[in-house]
Each structure stands twice: as C-alpha cells, then as structure tokens.
Point group: C2
DNA sequence: CATTTTTCATTTGTCTGACATTTAAAAGTC
DNA sequence: GACTTTTAAATGTCAGACAAATGAAAAATG
C-alpha cells in the first residue's frame, strides 16, 4: 500500500463504490497489495476515500464477488487479499460461460466447436500422459453407458465423467479449467437430449475408439474419433432444437 | 419471478447479502429471470427478504460486479438482468486468469502449454477459414517484427497482435475469448523478456512458417510450427526466471 | 506461578432514517 | 399541439447506531 495513492473522482458520473472497487482491484492486480495482506478497516477506507462506510462496504462486496478479497469479523479481522483458488476460478468461469450460452450471445454450434477443438488439443497431451487411472475411469464409464435401462440423465452424467477423465489425463489444470466451463455451460442443453438406443450405440463406439487411441498413445486417432463425436453431438442437438422450434418455445 | 420463492436463511452463518445475491443469481441462471427483466426495487427486495435496504444493495453490487445485472437511476429505473456481452465476459476472464498466474497457483509452463495447445486447435480451424484480412494482418506484424530498433515492448505487442489475428482467423468467438485470457495473463511475464536479435530472428522465422501454413490451408504444418514456437517461448521465459532468481525477487 | 475466566476493544454485519440526484411521466402553460 | 414545469419513483449517498464475532489483555482462581 506504500506507493498506492488509490484516488477516486467524486465528480465522475460513475458510482463511488465502483470507482473504489476499481482502485483496490488495480492495486491488487498491480501487485501493490499482496496475497493475504490486510486492507485498511472499512472506517479507515471511508476516511481515505472521503466517503461513508456503506459506500466502502458496497465496493468491498464487489471485490468479494470476484473472490479478490475475503473478510473476517472480530478483532484483528478485516478484509484480506484472497489467493484465488481453483474452485473459485472454476465457479466464476462456469457462471460466465453458462450465461454467454444461455443468453444466446453464443450459438450452440460455436460452443460445441470450441469445446471439441479444445478437447482434441487435450487428447494429444492425454495420449502421452494419461495414467492407468484415467484409462480405467474411461473404460468404466463406457461400460456404464452400455447398461440397458439407463436414464438419459444418467447417460449424460456418465458422458461428462468420461470426457472429464479424458481431459484430466492431459495433466494440465488450466486446460481442465477451460474445458470444465465449456462442458458445464452446455450441460443444460445436453440434458434435454433424448438418447436413442442407436445414438447411444454410436456414442459408445466412438468413446471406445477414443479410449483405444489414448491407450495406444495415438493422439491423431483420438482427434479423429473426437471429430466424429462432435458431428454426432451436433446432429443430436439440432434435432432437439428443431423439436423445440416446432412445439413452441421452452 | 412467478415460481421463484427466493428464500434465505437468516440463521445461517453466511452473510445475508451473499445469500440474497446467490438467490437472485440462481434465479437468473435458472431462467426465472430473463434478460432485460426488471428486478423489484431495492425497497421491495428488502421487504421480500426481510432485511434492510443497505443489505439488499450489497447483494446487488455483488451481482453487478459479475455483470449479472445493471442498474439505472430515476423513475422507471432499477436493476435489470444484464445480457452478458463479450467485452464483459473478456474482462472477467482476464481478471481471473491473470490472478491465477500472478498468485502462483499456476506455473508459467502450465499456462504456456495450455495456451499453445489451444492455439494449435485454433490453427487447424484458421487454416480452413481465415480471410485475406487475417493473413494480411499476420504478414504485416511479421514485417513490423523485422524492423531494426524496435523496442522489446513493441515487439511483444506485435507478437500479441499476430497471435490474435491467427486465433481470430478461426472465426470462433468462444475460442478467441478463451485465448485472450491465456495471452493477457501471460503478458506481464512476456513483457519482462529481453528479445535478442537472434531470438527475434527465430520467432519471425516461425511466424512466417505458421502464416505460410495457414495460407496453404495446412493445419498440421501450422501446428508443428506452433509447437516449435512454444519451445522457443518457454526457453526465453525460463531464462528470465533464472535471472530473477539470481538477482533476487522482483 | 500457571491456568482459567472475564473483560474489553476492534472490526465486520446489519438496521433505521434521512437527504441528494436522476429520470421519466404527468400536469400545466402558451 | 408543442413546450415547460412539476412530481413521483428509484437509485446513490450519508450519518449514526447497535449486534455479533473475535482475539488479546486483564483479572480472578487454583
């Protein structure tokens, strides 16, 4: 906090709490405030920015919503710069990705293409690095997907678990994080799909192809199978959309 | 808002404002509140949740920080469900990605690997879809990178512009969005690198290879060149880290 | 003296009530 | 009818207060 004036402009037409939040956000991202460092108390911040405590609190809540700070009550409590954890980052990412999709700013086709493009990238790494555990999970999910009487939801959940194992096999948490957002965002739409016996068969076949390729360390083959799966997914989804369009919205 | 009770638990040890924010967030993401729909006024929300207006306001600021709502003053003003725009989503993503990197939750190597894996995925699409504009931008940036007397910062900025054109060539905004986060997050570290004449030459050579491959519609060749560029970047960055480690932190 | 209990100051969480500012619509005026 | 003024509603901001949690110092206790 030494070299951080953190000034705001009271005459701006922007909310004071937004300005204060931005000033503190800049200080955190610029390195002036380091992880676990305690911010001044709300009263002190109010004095510093020449605003009231509720205004400071609104600013702090904005930062808390972004997981930039955490607060603690009591003596020696206060607001502390938060070390962003993976679960927190996941949550943020999924919220954003889901909204981008659901608000139609992104078409299903575009999201699907992006997802499978990234998954193919993971597959190449996964073919080299996957452990026996990842392979075992993938095989187990394929087995589950073949059970007769499986509900569509359970099939879908197993599908997600399969892809998760595939992606995690790459051993890169950043890629897992990116994919988690893409997969989660598509989940509501995927859950609307009715998986016929024939389409399940096709999917299981492709999952097997992918797993075989990963096991053999053959990245290109895994990519090819993923592309086929992308086509299958897109076709199924478009059927659902057509149905929705005919029977009216929702 | 019809079928949305949106109740909270006053006896929970969680902040009331956090609970209220979550309740409204769920309503938005669950589709009970649609885009551009107006939320009840702060006073009405306060009555509904049986809390005071400042508490409601803190909740609304949390949602505003995530771009879930926007507020408008005056008569017929209020809080409205916000249609998440790309710039807003970008901003959120970049903030999260930058913090994950800067707080050392992610190593540079991991971030670099993820970035280039995704870029290779883009390259395959870009080879099929890039317009003449994208190619022209890439060539122009390569030309700029060859100018003698170019500062490291300018070289770095041109590098970013080159990669941006490459990624945008894929014509998939979701991929562009994902990559923007990865590239922006690495930017602070990239800016610390000193690009020697020899390393610039190597990079320009690889950029040319990539562009040639994209122009020829040869995705695999572009991928190969990108892998070589990844190695180059990693080597350069590691040199910087070693320097930093020897001369002490920062 | 060591240990436990109590007190106390600090800080966030919440409430009440008020006023300022912005904004669109209603009312009034020419 | 077109323009101006008024008004009501909503967010933005402030001031002060109390509640609740919490750690540390002070006091009591063995």
């Amino acid at each position: 906090m030494k070299n951080a004036p953190m000034q705001i402009d009271p005459n701006s037409n922007v909310d004071l709490s937004a300005q204060i939040a931005q000033a503190i956000r800049d200080a955190i991202m610029g390195g002036e405030l380091i992880v676990d460092e305690r911010l001044p108390s709300e009263s002190e911040l109010a004095d510093h920015f020449a605003v009231s405590r509720p205004t400071v609190r609104e600013a702090l809540k904005r930062l808390a919503a972004q997981s930039l700070i955490r607060t603690q009550r009591g003596a020696s409590g206060g607001a502390f710069v938060n070390r962003l954890s993976y679960p927190e980052a996941y949550s943020q990412h999924i919220t954003t990705a889901t909204l981008l999709l659901s608000m139609n700013a992104v078409s299903f086709e575009t999201a699907c293409e992006a997802r499978y493009a990234m998954e193919r990238a993971c597959a190449a790494l996964s073919a080299r690095r996957r452990t026996a555990d990842h392979l075992a999970t993938m095989r187990a999910e394929i087995f589950r997907q073949q059970q007769p009487g499986l509900t569509d939801e359970a099939f879908c959940a197993s599908d997600v678990a399969f892809h998760r194992a595939l992606v995690d096999g790459a051993g890169n948490p950043v890629l897992s994080y990116q994919l988690a957002g893409a997969v989660e965002a598509m989940q509501p739409l995927m859950n609307m799909i009715t998986f016929s016996a024939r389409s399940r068969e096709a999917i299981v076949k492709l999952h097997t192809d992918i797993t075989d390729a990963i096991e053999a360390g053959d990245g290109p083959a895994a990519s090819t199978a993923l592309t086929a799966l992308e086509c299958e997914t897109l076709t199924l989804a478009q059927t659902v959309f057509a149905e929705r369009a005919r029977t009216g919205k929702r």
